[in-house]
Symmetry: C2
Subunit: 195 residues, 2 copies
Amino acid sequence: MRLFSPVDRSKSPSARQTLNCTSGPIYRAASEGQAWRLRSGVVRLDNIGPKGEAVFASLAIAGDIIGCETLLFGAYTFSATALTQCEMSPWPEGDSVPAGESLLASLAQAQRRAADVVALRGGQAADRVLGLIRLLVDSTGQVVLPMRQDIADITDLRFETISRIIKQLERMQILLPLRMDGVHATRGFRVNLPA
Amino acid sequence: MRLFSPVDRSKSPSARQTLNCTSGPIYRAASEGQAWRLRSGVVRLDNIGPKGEAVFASLAIAGDIIGCETLLFGAYTFSATALTQCEMSPWPEGDSVPAGESLLASLAQAQRRAADVVALRGGQAADRVLGLIRLLVDSTGQVVLPMRQDIADITDLRFETISRIIKQLERMQILLPLRMDGVHATRGFRVNLPA
DNA sequence: CGCATTTTTGATACACGTCAATCTCCGTGG
DNA sequence: CCACGGAGATTGACGTGTATCAAAAATGCG
């Protein structure tokens, strides 16, 4: 069970105040806090559903700003949960970029990301999973996927379906599991995309 | 077939420069133009797909800002199409609201709208259509729905499925068709939601 | 009035959901 | 060191919600 706990500030307190956080809750909707730029990793944003449960709302990946609504409302609109190891730093960064332009860039980025997420919820199941992989793969051709259940929440499929699709992609050599200590990783892969 | 044509500026050139546009194309991705605030109506935003076709990306309803990325890039990111009669006015409005705060409000609004759209693409078909109806119903309890095909694009269902669901909602008296010239309207309804 | 567009409806197919069992991986404690 | 237990992942058998294909009806526009 995931419990909400403060962000780990122990690592890299040196340059530019980057914060490390392990997979797990980052902040909760309606709580107070600041905005962040996600330096690396994957974060899911959730609405609170009618029965208090988390309802997937959006996704943030490296470069995205999360929680900037606190600058306006003083509280977070969504809950944020790290789906992989993440690095974040406070936003705005206080560098020379003019505030208005920086905000505008964030708005444009948020809209494009939203379109990406919408696309992950349409079409055939395998294409949705591939779409997510394309979104998450890094420049070296590797990817650390979220848990099957989180992929299912993002794509509006069932985790059994996700499991079948990922195993199929492995058999097709599109996903090549990374080995850690000689054992088959279930979430880290080298990606070998056809297109 | 929908062809792109300029916005009709003939109506209400008086106060605050509000523009009327009939159902149809508003602007095209990559073209130049300004940002707009949608005063009334429903607009779909589309990405250009791999084969040049329109791929649904997001939805804008009354109060939303569309095309604000032109302020940054000088060109639209998405294509915009009116799904119902719309009224729009140029944005920013040039009133007293500070630019930064106004932008921030737009960003927060865009994020909430994106979460709404994501929710319209998850769960059972009937719930998705009901979700859209809830989003579009006005304060008087009436709604003018987009065409079945557009609802299908938004919810990632087929128009035949949408047709069946709407007919079912009519039979359940949740949607009460408005009569115009004595004929059964297929898109205007009085809404009688259970919850 | 006539024709193109949109909507409705029916019959059938299949992709994904559901339920259940098993397996792997890992941390914990005896 | 190994037994134990829990979380996550895999796999199989079967059910069902929606897609697909086809045809007709209703609507709206010139």
